[in-house]
Symmetry: C2
Subunit: 117 residues, 2 copies
């Protein structure tokens, strides 16, 4: 770690003010972990699908043309992040979105990538 930089005279103040604004390690970690869940194409596809309708594991696997195991693993991640919930109906388990923020986050992400073209 280097000492305080000298790139301008107000630096000590800038750093002090910055540290006051800086996120907690805890909050930054939680936030990063949330976005990490959105950071995979398979999970993004699943979330987008579920934003239209609830689906069972098997259907999701068929729509995405992936194995049931892979989808099940990903749904577990989504559920741990409280982004989806599930209900059981006999042998079948239906998954649905469990958070209003999912729509907004996906939307803002889409806005960004289309605006950046």
């Amino acid at each position: 770690m280097e000492t305080t930089c000298q790139c301008n005279t107000a630096n000590n103040d800038t750093v002090t003010k910055g540290k006051a604004v800086l996120m907690t390690e805890h909050v930054a970690g939680d936030l990063a972990n949330l976005f990490k869940v959105f950071g995979d194409p398979t999970r993004v596809k699943i979330l987008h699908l579920l934003s239209v309708t609830e689906l069972c594991v098997c259907d999701i696997a068929n729509v995405l043309d992936m194995t049931q195991s892979a989808i099940s693993h990903q749904l577990r991640v989504l559920k741990q992040a409280k982004l989806v919930r599930n209900r059981k109906d006999g042998k079948t388990v239906y998954y649905a979105l469990d958070d209003d923020h999912v729509h907004t986050i996906l939307r803002q992400g889409l806005d960004h990538i289309s605006h950046v073209l």
Copy 2:
């Protein structure tokens, strides 16, 4: 890959409709890559800091108590994702947010993790 599931009689239709809604590989990939950038505590802290004021590399390093090299690498990632821009003033390079969506995305993420407690 297994064959079409038989969990209910409307399945073929469900899968067909799902495939119509399904995101392109391209879009899902771009979107995931964007969120991946938010999926690291260091980058989240930097983005949050820059949402308050522009800062030079050295100051960010001091505020986060990390090496200049580590911060520089991360700023490169943020810039490639078009989330930050920079201006050069002598030896110093100042970074600032370069996208309105950053605020919204961070806010929605914070709303989610606080709502989930």
